[in-house]
């Protein structure tokens, strides 16, 4: 009994160690987004609060904290308050199985990929409940759009992961990383390139980011599912969206780019030169590439039309994944070197 309590306290400490940097990263991701898109559009971005505007996310957080929380009279109060929590919870809970380094993982479970699929698939409930409980037509339209979109893209996402599972032969995230051992040409993004693209595109669609932000659609349905939210409720929805972005970026780098593995493994000179770099640095660097890609997409593309989103999901991405699963099957059967021997 006493041992169990000590183990529990340790787990809580580890959770805090993971979540505090994550939340700081979320805060500065909003800053990075405004800054990067600003420069892409020949603007400066936030530069007033602190040096280079670095105090901006903190100022934003304080502002949202102090704002009055308004709950609409016709809203279902309990569900209205529950919805932001439900959208944030899975985004944070998924980090339990993410490996940061060779042995740095909170829960090294065998069904890690399944756990991640389960967690990312319940993120839609926050949006759905928010849209319904607000009792407002724009919020409801946003919720319906988002529900249909997330359910469609989840299939493509799941199929893409089936390819990864086949290639690695395991659903454990550490094993998936270990099976990509040995330099950049061993990583799964080469044999699974179409699945890599499909996973990334459906990841963008799952987080409701541009060009797939039908759930918000500012120019069509005001702000979509969170139109009635103010103050903290709004802030939590924002937090969930950015935490999801970081999660998807981390997952793409684990599944297809070898997670914390060094890209220079096995190259005669470079591998010794970069041997001192801890794995977490590579992991963060790879995650960062995809985060920048998120911002780049937002600055580049206009929003998709709704029927085109559905068409892309069902008629392009899902057939591509199904075909490539067969290709991966043959590659494994014939021990295609250097990935499947």
């Amino acid at each position: 009994m006493f041992d169990a309590i000590i183990a529990l306290v340790w787990i809580v400490i580890k959770i805090v160690i993971i979540l505090v940097p994550l939340l700081i990263a979320v805060a500065y991701l909003t800053y990075a987004e405004r800054k990067v898109i600003g420069y892409m559009q020949c603007r400066v971005g936030p530069n007033r609060v602190g040096i280079f505007g670095l105090g901006q996310p903190i100022a934003d957080a304080v502002k949202l904290f102090l704002k009055e929380t308004i709950d609409p009279t016709a809203a279902n109060k309990f569900l209205f308050m529950l919805a932001p929590v439900l959208s944030l919870m899975p985004a944070l809970a998924a980090w339990a199985v993410i490996p940061f380094n060779n042995s740095w993982v909170l829960a090294n479970v065998n069904a890690g990929v399944l756990y991640l699929l389960a967690m990312t698939s319940i993120g839609v409930y926050g949006i759905l409940i928010a849209g319904w409980a607000s009792n407002s037509k724009y919020a409801f339209l946003g919720a319906l759009r988002s529900a249909a979109q997330v359910v469609s893209y989840e299939i493509a996402m799941g199929f893409a992961l089936v390819g990864v599972l086949m290639a690695a032969g395991s659903a454990n995230l550490q094993t998936i990383i270990h099976s990509q051992q040995g330099g950049i040409w061993h990583w799964f993004f080469i044999p699974l390139f179409p699945l890599f693209l499909v996973y990334w595109i459906s990841g963008v669609a799952e987080t409701n980011r541009l060009p797939f932000d039908m759930a918000e659609g500012e120019s069509e349905i005001v702000a979509g599912f969170h139109v009635e939210y103010s103050g903290m409720g709004f802030a939590v929805f924002f937090l969930a969206e950015y935490a999801n972005m970081i999660l998807i970026s981390a997952l793409v780098s684990i599944f297809f780019l070898g997670g914390w593995l060094s890209p220079f493994d096995g190259i005669p000179y470079l591998s010794n030169l970069f041997a001192w770099v801890p794995g977490i640095i590579w992991f963060i660097a790879k995650t960062f590439i995809f985060l920048l890609l998120f911002l780049w997409l937002r600055a580049t593309f206009p929003r998709y039309r709704y029927d085109q989103i559905m068409r892309l999901g069902w008629k392009v991405l899902i057939p591509v994944t199904i075909v490539w699963i067969f290709v991966v099957g043959f590659a494994i059967e014939f021990h295609l070197s250097p990935w499947f021997n």
Partner: protein, 196 residues
């Protein structure tokens, strides 16, 4: 062991509460949300029995996909709650009858004469739920598994053919035409003499 028992009792109580509320809540959306809650609680119970594959698939498939679509439909229904409340008592006798029947069957099955209780064996550290399930599914139960797959395929084709009406007059976007549109076919630049 004690902690496991506490977790088991807490989540089974919540499961029973959620299941009762699915039936008793006045609002259809709240009912559906309680069903989601019930799925979560039963997923925890399965996890406690070390059936992590089943438990996560329950969340992934039922909570993530089936219930999302369910809520999607239920939210768009326009149900008159007053009518429902008035007619609820009408179904009480048959409800009690059905409950009694099901409870009777369950009690009959779990009576000591019929029920062989097995003491659960703790899985070893390297035991993988997924691989042993796959092993059984693709060897011993291959034919039932394939039959179920064919059945689902037939259902998919049926659903598509029911909703896909081949009316040529229906308003639908021809994606091929849309993609092939170019500047020359859509824009006409008219030169006008500028005002002096």
């Amino acid at each position: 062991m004690l902690i496991e028992q506490i977790v088991f009792i807490a989540f089974s109580l919540m499961l029973i509460f959620a299941a009762i509320m699915v039936v008793c809540s006045k609002n259809a959306v709240t009912s559906a949300l309680y069903l989601v809650y019930a799925f979560f609680n039963s997923a925890v119970l399965w996890m406690l029995m070390q059936a992590e594959f089943l438990s996560l698939v329950l969340i992934f498939v039922y909570v993530g996909a089936v219930m999302t679509l369910f809520l999607f439909v239920v939210m768009m229904l326009n149900i008159n709650i007053e009518n429902l409340r008035r007619s609820r008592m009408k179904y009480l006798p048959i409800g009690i009858l059905m409950t009694a029947l099901i409870v009777g069957i369950v009690i009959y099955v779990v009576m000591p004469e019929h029920y062989i209780s097995l003491t659960p064996v703790k899985a070893t550290e390297h035991y993988s739920n997924i691989s042993s399930l796959g092993m059984v599914l693709y060897t011993h139960y291959l034919y039932p598994f394939e039959l179920a797959a064919v059945l689902l395929l037939a259902a998919i084709i049926g659903a598509i053919s029911l909703t896909h009406v081949g009316n040529p007059k229906r308003k639908v976007q021809n994606i091929n035409k849309q993609i092939q549109a170019n500047k020359q076919s859509r824009l006409r630049i008219i030169k006008m003499p500028s005002e002096k």
